[in-house]
Every structure is written in C-alpha cells, then in structure tokens.
C-alpha cells in the first residue's frame, strides 16, 4: 500500500470532509460493549499481535486501520473467536463482551457468534435463495417459531440492510445471482437477522466498486444507531467517513486509539502521523 506523494495534500482535506458527514453529535459518552486487555495472538511459533488493549463503545463505529499484515484483521477475528477455526492459532489475554469473558470455557462459542456477527472481506452468500440466506441464522438458532415469524425476520433484516426494495420480488432466486454490492448487503442482512449486539466487518468494501462502496458506507452509518460496529479497513478515507473512533495498528501493535477526528488531525504518535500522511503504507 504505497501511497503516491501527491495524496498527502488530499489527506488534509479528509478532516473537513469527515466533519461534514458526521451526523450523530459524538460517541464519547457511549458505554463500552467490548473490552480487550493485553491480547496476544500466535500462529504457531509466530506472534501476530502484541498486548492489544482497547475499548469498543456501544452504538458507534470503531475503525481499525493500518498497513497490510499489521494485525488489524487478526484482532477483529479474536472478538468472535473466528481464530479458533485456524489451525495452530492461539490467543492470550482477556476479551470481554458485556462483562463476559469471551474465551471462558463456560461461554459457548455458538452463543458468542450469535451475539457478535461478522461480515467478510469478499461477499460470501450461500448457494441458496436470497430468502434462505437470511433465514439461515434464525433457523439454526431456532429464533423463529413459525413461517410468518421467519418471513417477518427476513423482511426486517433486508430492510435494515436497505436491500428489501431491490429483492422483494425475487426472494426465491439464488443469492449468488446478485451484484457484488448487493451480495455484500445480503451478507450484512444475514448477520443482522440473528440480531447480534456487535457486528464485525472485515474490509467489507475491498471487493466492491466505488458506488457499491458508497452504499455500504451509508448503510454502516445507519446501522450505527442500533448496533456496535467494528470495521477493519485499509482505506483511511473510509475510516474517516464512517467511524467515530479509530485505532491504528502497526506490526502487530496497537499504536494509537482515539476519536477519529483527533487521530486524523493531531495524532500523538509519529508513526500514526506518518501513516495518515502517506509516508508509508
């Protein structure tokens, strides 16, 4: 991610752009939903994350930025224990969701993932109909007692993901037939259908064109009113546009974390400064 030098000037414009799009007053007073303390991750003998401590506030968007391989995705995947599915991955430290230890044996990972939903880098709808894609989560968790209730969940999830108007007439068509942006919104709707408290997004726009990206960003902004969102992005503009708080990762360390405007205008660390001005990437 080498940023061309002429973009440095543009990055100062980011601030004004961001302040114009912020709609909620501020995220400062929000209660903390997810709390991480001294989290380390190892892949076999290799350590990927070093003592990360951070608080993620409720009903706000927290962005994780940093160059490729800095550990931001790794950290995100700790929050719903998706690292468990990787062979040889080991997590130490403490992560709490509403005060419950995420890595405690008594907390079921199935339950955890129902409470902490996830949206992936590439849209990954199941090879099923649009309806079945949404109904998948509620069905496995036994959330809907009747067909009518399920219909209700599907409709409200699609509406929350602002996809309903586009697909309401073709719910039985395969989800893989949608466009990339629609597929990603379908995946967001699929995550919403389980009504998670926290939604994790792992570079959700990296595979999409600018128009689709804009739509997703708009959607994220809307979802903030009801959900706690953590988003990994390699685009600083995106972080500036959608997030209230930003955490900067570098080489497996959490370098700096704070309100987004503060990170982008007056970062405390030199490394943050260098990154946001495009000196390395």
């Amino acid at each position: 991610m080498q940023m061309p030098s002429e973009k440095i000037v543009a990055s100062t414009d980011l601030y004004s752009m961001k302040s114009s799009t912020i709609r909620t007053p501020d995220a400062e007073a929000r209660p903390v939903r997810v709390k991480a303390r001294e989290v380390c991750v190892f892949y076999g003998p290799k350590q990927a994350l070093f003592d990360v401590s951070i608080d993620i506030p409720e009903k706000a968007v927290t962005a994780f930025i940093g160059p490729s391989g800095c550990g931001k995705s790794t950290f995100l995947r700790c929050l719903n224990r998706m690292n468990d599915t990787i062979e040889g991955a080991r997590v130490t430290g403490r992560i709490e969701l509403d005060g419950d230890d995420v890595y405690d044996a008594s907390l079921d990972v199935v339950e955890l993932r129902a409470r902490v939903g996830m949206v992936f880098q590439k849209p990954n709808p199941f090879p099923k109909s649009i309806y079945e894609n949404i109904a998948y989560g509620p069905r496995i968790h036994g959330l809907a007692a009747s067909k009518a209730e399920m219909d209700g969940i599907v409709e409200s999830s699609l509406q929350k993901a602002s996809l309903w108007d586009e697909v309401k007439d073709r719910l039985q068509e395969p989800g893989t037939g949608l466009s990339g942006g629609q597929q990603q919104r379908l995946c967001i709707a699929r995550a919403i259908a389980v009504s998670p408290e926290v939604i994790l997004m792992d570079e959700p726009c990296s595979a999409l064109d600018p128009i689709a990206t804009a739509k997703i960003e708009e959607l994220i902004d809307e979802l903030r009113e009801n959900y706690t969102i953590a988003i990994v992005t390699h685009s600083m503009q995106q972080a500036a546009r959608v997030s209230q708080r930003t955490a900067f990762f570098h080489l497996g360390n959490l370098v700096e974390e704070g309100p987004t405007d503060q990170i982008f205008t007056s970062p405390a660390e030199k490394r943050t400064q260098d990154y946001i001005t495009g000196r390395f990437g």
Binding site: A27, E28, A29, R30, P31, V32, R33, K35, D55, P57, E58, E96, D98, G99, D108, V110, E111, A114, R115, I140, H141, G142, L143, S195, E197, E257, G258
Partner: protein
C-alpha cells in the same frame, strides 16, 4: 480514553434477553447433534481402516501357510533290481539333431516306465520299520509327482545306481493338509482322504522329525498341476503377469504421457481436443471386461482363430503360448493407456504453477486406474 469507559451493561432490552434464552435452550441439543455427527465420521473411518486390517490379516492368515509345505527326508536306495534300463544314448556320426532327440526321448520314456514308487515305498518302510502300513497307504503320503524327482536325479546322473542318497520329497497335498490341521480330525474314516494307517504314519514321521515344514520354493519355479497339487507353482502365472506388465509399460506409458503432454501444454482448446479429453476420461471408466471384448473381437476377426484358443487367453498365465499373450496385449493395452493418460493429464495441471516443468515419466509408473485425482496432489510432479 478514560472518559469513554463506563460500566459494562447487560443486554439492552427484553427482546435481546428472549433471543439469548432461545439460543441457549437449543445449545444442548445442537451440541449433542454435533457430537453424534462427529461420531459417525469416526465410525466411518474406523470401519474403512477395519476393512483394510481385516482384508490384510485374512490374506496373511490364509496365504502365509501356503508358503511352507510338509517335506519327507528319506534315504532312497537306487535299487539295481528295480531300475533295469539301457545305457543312455549318444549322438552318433551322421545322425540328425531330430533323430538324436528321438533316441533320447525313447530312453527317457523307458526310464520313466520304471517303477520308481518301489524305491519310495522301500525308503518309507526303512524310515518307519515297525509301522503296519500297506504300500498304498505308505505311498499316499508322498506326492505322486515325486517319483519323477528320483527319475530326474537318475537321468542327470546314471551313476547313482546302487547307491543310497538322502532325498527330500514333498508330502502329498492330503498329508500336508492333515498335518497342518486343515482337516477335521474327528471325521470318520469314510470321509477322510487318507487311510487311518497313512494318517498315523504321517503323524509319527512328523513327530520323529522325518517330516518337517519347509519353505516351498517350488511355488516360484513350478507351473501349475492338477495331478500333483502339492508340487504346483505359480511360475507360469508370474511370467504371464510380467509379460503383461512389460507390454503395458512399453505401450501405455509413452503414449499416455505423450498425449497428456500434448493435451495440457500444446493443444488448442477446441472441440476436437475437448472430445479427446472427454474420450480419455471415458476410456478410463469403461469396465475392463469391455476391453476384453474388444480384444476378443479383434483377435477373432483379425487372426481367424477358433474360440478354444481364445478361451486360453481368458485364463492369465495358464498356457504360455503366443496366442494368449497377443490377446492380452490387445485387450489390456488400451485400458491402461486410458488410465495413464488420465493420470498424466492431471499432473501437468499441477505442474503448471511450478514453472511448467515437463512431467517426468518416472512419476507415472506409480499409476493406478481411477487414482488419478489424488495422485495429482500426492505426486511430487
């Protein structure tokens, strides 16, 4: 940072609490189902490995005893009274090869007609002097073909006449099975192959160490035999299989590898090459018996031979005549070729990443029909 940290809160409202309860209620059942599913998987693997183990232990259990056979150690006296034959012929001046051959055959026929069994009989009685057995019973524990072993010794060296030589002779198949415990000892005499005297004699000789179980090397050197089953061997079958392998390697491997190389590296992607590929995949899956029929049809129509000759071809290695060899060659080549092509055609695909290294034919020798899909990953390329 400090200003944003406040007390963690409980799930926001009732809807959340109800939802969580629903999820928690289902967990026990879902985890039980997970464990069951896993157990099925383990059971399937245990079953598959169990089959391998059972199959191999059965093969070893049934097959290993066949490699040892009961053998009698006897002192055979080449009695001049029994062995009364002419001197062996010598090739004279002006005698054609064919005529000399005839004289030798005549002498050998004469020698063969001698009563070699008398020598064996005498040797057995010498080994167990006090046993009350008639000659039939005594002879029944020795394989019928063993008299020709004595004959061959004599033909080889006529000077044996009048000498006593220690000789190892194969026990008959019946005696062998009796001593190995393959025959139910409680069966009445009427259902036994050997007489009571012969059984007692065999047991006694085993006890005295005059019968022992020895490695049966003749399995690899003798051909099959109906009249003397204990002396039968697999040499004919081995040679037949070896020829088949050679022919297949010579025919199938080069053609298979070359067409695979062509299809993967050179061929344009058009309908013809598509057809060839589908064709090859098909050939690999055509049952071997259909190739056999192809062989039969070609063989009969081209060589115009009667069916009995064809029948010989169906029993691998039974007769080592050229006809049956030809038959296998025709029938077997194409089947294996298809398999080799299928093996080969997946390989270069794997190799493409590795800088398009040309496939090495050595790797293809380890082919197995239908194994191509996994060879691809397993092979070193």
């Amino acid at each position: 940072m400090a200003d944003i940290i406040s007390r963690p809160t409980a799930p926001a409202d009732d809807a959340d609490a109800i939802r969580l309860k629903k999820i928690k209620d289902g967990l026990t059942r879902r985890h039980a189902r997970e464990r069951r599913f896993r157990a099925y998987g383990v059971a399937a693997i245990v079953a598959a490995i169990g089959f391998v183990v059972i199959l191999f232990s059965m093969i070893l259990y049934k097959g290993l005893p066949a490699f040892t056979q009961a053998e009698l150690s006897l002192n055979v006296y080449f009695d001049p009274e029994v062995l009364s034959a002419d001197e062996p012929p010598v090739q004279g001046e002006g005698q054609s090869a064919a005529e000399y051959q005839r004289a030798v055959l005549g002498w050998q026929r004469q020698v063969t007609m001698l009563n070699w069994n008398r020598l064996i009989e005498a040797a057995i009685i010498e080994a167990a002097p006090d046993a009350q057995v008639d000659t039939r019973s005594a002879l029944s524990i020795v394989e019928t073909s063993e008299r020709f072993v004595l004959r061959d010794m004599f033909v080889e060296n006529p000077g044996l006449l009048g000498q006593t030589i220690p000789v190892s002779l194969l026990a008959s198949a019946n005696a062998d099975n009796w001593l190995k415990g393959n025959i139910d000892r409680s069966l009445p005499d009427s259902q036994q192959q050997l007489s009571a005297d012969a059984r007692a004699l065999a047991d006694r000789l085993l006890e005295e160490g005059k019968i022992r179980f020895a490695f049966a090397g003749h399995i690899f050197t003798n051909v099959d035999s109906r009249s003397a089953p204990a002396s039968a061997g697999l040499a004919g079958a081995f040679v037949g299989s070896l020829y088949m392998m050679l022919v297949v390697i010579v025919l199938a491997v080069p053609i298979g590898v070359m067409s695979a190389v062509y299809l993967e590296e050179f061929a344009p992607k058009n309908r013809l090459t598509d057809l060839i590929e589908v064709n090859i995949n098909n050939l690999a899956a055509v049952p071997s018996i259909v190739f056999g029929l192809l062989g039969a049809a070609v063989f009969i129509n081209y060589f115009r031979l009667p069916l009995s000759a064809l029948a010989a071809g169906w029993r691998p290695g039974s007769d080592a005549d050229d006809a049956s060899d030809d038959h296998h060659r025709y029938a077997f080549g194409p089947a294996c070729r298809a398999a080799v092509v299928a093996t080969g055609s997946t390989r270069p695909r794997c190799v493409e990443d590795a800088n398009r290294v040309p496939p090495r034919s050595a790797g293809h020798l380890s082919w197995h029909p239908d194994g191509h899909h996994h060879r691809c990953r397993a092979g070193a390329g």
